[in-house]
Symmetry: D2
Subunit: 331 residues, 4 copies
């Protein structure tokens, strides 16, 4: 039985808490949150106790922590958990600052604890099946990756101001997908060019951010990746990629709430995609936390390590710089 | 808190037991099975007790029972549960004999308990969305229903011999879908013609059954329904229907494990459907047991009553008779 | 160079005339029509001459005739063309009366001319590709065929009154598809049950016809076929079939004017099917008339003979009888 | 009646010649080709005469010429036809050299003849329908365009050496689509970044070319366009684009030879796209030449002028430069 503490009882904390509470062999022991009532409500619902952070770190019975608190707290909590000898699951990103993220990665390595970063797309059944077929050689050698990633609408301006910008906040996932899919054999980015615009709402520009981006990456082996993103798709949450290989292409489509087609005078209408990430990645969230505990149990390495978190952050920094300067970045 | 006993710890019993155990406000108290070790294993896994039937019926703390035992036990267990004042969830069918099913329906009515029959397709998100749009008038008045229902492969001959035949065992679901979709406004079957063949395996004929059927039903209002079934689809479990209305058509497709398309020299390949009912109807099983307890709580009527079970059984009998005689049946 | 006369300068006559006029090695010599101005217009447009029927039959330079005049004239014109030693392409049906159709088939056989009936669906690229894969064994042995055939709207009541009824006028095509696809190896219908309703417009009933039908056919080998038709689909002309075989299924979908998908707040919308037969079967009409002349040239048998026309007519008669009596028909 | 001469009796010349010969009001008078037997064969097949270029330019009865000869001859033939007062249809590109293309555009303007460049994609029914809906406001303001353009296989190295490189030879079409779709309101490219690789065959590198490219363009209004291309798609000719707008997305898919879906143990397989441009753009070629003569008749402007040809060439030059230098280009 693994005893676990969850830090953060907000939207994503509640998802991870209830998913892990349902796993055999895992016990949700503590819930911590800066807002006591939020912690209390979640703890009560899942049969856990409310605790302070110090109490968690001091309790030798706690095996692992799940960090679901705001981004600004991640690196500090990882470092403290590592120092306390707890295994760590941390929501992306490691930290908005690459140097701090790198420092944390070193701290984790020194402490010898296991640390997994929550890039949940690697656990999405569709994306995962594409990776499986790539590994099985079904489309030969990978050559070009096109990622389309669009939110249903921009978050509030206050959120944007603290987000680190669209590349660090939103594309961090796509940049991780790039590495996971196009660099599965150890290849890495060699050249990156990004450009960006504000097309949906002038308030985004006033917050110093962009809402629409176009990124191109060339790898050391000459493979090409294009990422296009927008903060607003009128038809919902759009999460697709396609990978051209020497023998074919894998194309990952969206999930829909139902498989109903409506044929009428206007045409043949299918559902639009699931509305947002909580619905689209519901299975992925379940599978990633299961993976975390499976690996703790078996000693197998995680699919997404703290090093992956650091590398995605480096790419996000490079993309930000490129979009600001209008010039490509070499690695 | 509702206390529940599950009868039957086989494949379907385990599904219902773990789904209901996860519901807030519901407690799985007892598990009963003719095989003590099966009962014990399920009870232990879900924190329940093993019990004999008599003990369950005698315990005034038990609010409801979920009957997931073999078909031949259904009517007797419904009658006993009704007599004991327990609310009842029973897997389809009520009974392979229409008179016995009718007797049980009367017993339930007299006892004043609630009894829901597990026609899970009514809870499938895709089928349910089609019904919702029909009710919302999106395709006008319903006119023609075409149901395609194919298993991935025939069950063992021993199963077939005790099954009541393909119409009672397999088409019972499709006949219920016919009533649920094409007779949503109270219309009913007026004329039915069925024919059947053995096309997949001569052993099916030796068991006195068929593996391929074609049923046509005309309703009192002149609406038309065609059902085609096979025990074997080489591509998996095929569960679709389409409803033509005066203003359009609703077409319900299969679910797939992933949304990957593979483009290669052979064409563009999508996943085949989910392999069988446990996967295809996983969400439906979860939603139907939730519906059962929601209705117990709210006092709302069930979507599928014991009367629905009786009526589907009558249609299955008529189809069997029609296929045997080569003549249509009038209602 | 084959010299050809076209009888009938209406909608279908114009299509066949311009298709054959564009074929290398074929010369459209004459156009005949009861309405002189219609004949003149078509003849002028395609560089042909207007002629009377007698003139065509008497001209030894005429190799073949294409009969595109009203249904009531078909059998007489086939007989006269056969007597004159002309090869014959005739639009479906041979004749609304089976005995007359049979007599005509005998006359053709005795005259030793070639006679092809215009079941254009056998030349539709999609349907044809399905038949090719069936022949290639890609889905194993055929077992069940489901045909969906829906017009965009009912024709005028005057048309209906002279049409011979929906089975002879509309389902004749579907009954031919049944024989072409499910009986490709020489199997034939053994049992047929049909039922029908008036659901779209009471005027159809007043004309003594139906607008919605459901037909089931069992073959000598026990294969099953279901046909569903309606005179009205709000979404256009719906022409599909699917064939279940022992190793898989072939599913033939509709064609659309474009491959545009529109994603918006309402969903993901594809085009509805082509509006009616002239658009849907444009390629089929071109390919069938090319096939006619190819066979004349090569001496190969036609894909659709006058015997096929007679057999489809027999099935249409049986379906009409079954729908009227409520009883199945045995062959 | 318009009299026309076709220059070039190769693959594309034969297509345009037979399409224009079938148009009412158009007469194919002359065919010219450096290979006399090629000219003779095409002329005979379509009832035209073989001629020398000088004879065509000197014949006052010739209204228009269709230039389908090798790329290296285009600018010279346009200039000579303009000087002779003939209207001009010319296959893309105007010239591989931008200055020469610009000079030709000036010559055309001075001569006052009409000159259309054969960017056939603007006439593809699917692409055209997307543009129509964009113009109709169905997806609001355009924001991002993603173009996928892949050939089924690289041409011979000798072809590549004379092609001007992948950007001028292959992407010229995609760059025109960019202007046609994303700049429909007069917007133009402001910034372009391109990168490219050799991933399919080292012989391409030896020919001094690339086979895989990734281009990003930002317009003056901040709209974003990404183009990904490859000389080799194992699944055939892949020609798609998708346009995100403020109210939705238009997605243009490939055409397929048939609408057959094959369901079997491997999955559900649709046809791969049409094999190459002759099949995919068959309708577009027909419609573009019809447009040419319609405009000559009506005096309406062409959809694709010589200025469009020059501007696409400028973008192709910029992309080549960017891919060579690794730096973006500003306009």
């Amino acid at each position: 039985m693994k005893n676990v503490a969850v830090f953060g009882a907000g939207r994503i904390g509640r998802i991870h808490a209830s998913n892990l509470a349902a796993l055999p062999g895992v016990r949700l022991q503590y819930v911590c949150d800066a807002v006591p009532s939020a912690a209390a409500e979640l703890a009560q619902q899942l049969g856990a106790q409310v605790a302070e952070l110090d109490q968690v770190f001091a309790d030798p019975g706690v095996d692992a922590v799940a960090i679901c608190s705001p981004t600004s707290t991640h690196s500090d909590l990882i470092a403290r958990a590592a120092a306390a000898g707890k295994h760590i699951f941390c929501e992306k990103p490691v930290d908005l600052s690459v140097p701090r993220a790198e420092a944390v990665a070193r701290a984790v390595a020194e402490a010898g604890v296991a640390c997994m970063i929550g890039f949940q797309r690697r656990f999405d059944p569709t994306f995962n099946e594409a990776r499986r077929r790539l590994d099985a050689g079904e489309i030969g050698r990978p050559e070009m990756l096109v990622i389309t990633s669009r939110d249903p609408g921009a978050p509030p301006v206050d959120y944007l101001k603290a987000s680190g910008g669209i590349f660090r906040d939103m594309l961090i996932h796509d940049l991780d997908v790039f590495r996971w899919i196009l660099c599965a054999d150890g290849d890495e980015a060699a050249w990156l060019s990004a450009t960006a615009s504000v097309l949906t709402d002038p308030a985004v520009a006033e917050a110093g951010d962009w809402d629409s981006t176009a990124v191109t990456i060339k790898t050391r082996l000459g493979r090409l990746c294009q990422i296009n993103t927008s903060r607003r798709a009128a038809y919902g949450y759009d999460q697709r990629f396609e990978l051209l290989g020497s023998d074919g292409m894998l194309q990952c489509g969206n999930q829909t709430p139902s498989q109903v087609l409506q044929w009428d005078a206007r045409g043949v209408r299918a559902d639009k995609p699931e509305p947002f990430f909580l619905q689209r990645y519901a299975a992925a969230y379940r599978l990633e936390i299961e993976h975390f505990f499976d690996c703790l149990q078996s000693g197998q390495p995680f699919k997404t390590t703290v090093e992956d978190g650091v590398k995605a952050q480096q790419l996000a920094d490079a993309a930000t710089l490129s979009a600001q300067s209008g010039q490509p970045v070499q690695f």
